[in-house]
Amino acid sequence: MATLQSYLMVTAILFGLGLFVVTTRRNAVGVLMGVELILNAASINFVAFAHFRGNDVAGNMFSIFIIVLAAAEAAVALALVISLFRQFGTIDVEEATTLKG
């Protein structure tokens, strides 16, 4: 039951939901949540491949680095969201069109 393929199925669904969130949300924080879902799916995949290859250490390293980079990305992105809110009074990504030509 808990084979590599079943892990791949679960993470594919997680990744798909994340992709759906990123493409459909108007709220900038919502888009960020989609990115977190995608990163989580990728890091579970790394660890699953490492485990079924005989507990390889490289996959674990990759997923630790993914987690750290996700934390850095979340900090910067939320800072951007807050400054967007200060500038426009909304965090709707459709409203921030100052750079539109």
Partner: protein, 163 residues
Amino acid sequence: MLKDLVFLGTAVFTIASAATVAFSRNILYSGFALLGTFAGAAVFFILLSSDFVAVTQVLIYVGGVLILVLFAIMLTSKIGDMNITNRSINYKIAIPLLLLFLGMLTQLMSGGSWDFGEEKFQSMVVPIGNGLLTEYLLPFEVISIALLGALVGAVVIVRREIK
């Protein structure tokens, strides 16, 4: 047997909370549902014998990223009109994209052989500790500098201009 049951329960729980993140109309509920997804991922890490990664996941995602996300929600939306804070657009693009992507993945997974058999649980703390100080020392240092730069950058972005 027990492992399979735990896997199945965690899979259902994780996907259900991810679906709540995706389809809830209230952004605050999406934020809280993200907690379920992160916790489910931590259980997956333990099942995959990566106990260290599971603890890191709980500490950084649940303790850090999720709190940041909730802070951002509370700071940027007016509590009064909370019900329509998470509207969706672009279904015409999103659904074909999703179907294309899932089709590609199932195509990839149905070909080839994926029979790796069962693996025993084995704690990965000692190999990770050794790896971080020998083979992966350079990436470790580089990522610490990247993290520092990102945090300083975040502070610079949100601070108010002093004239």
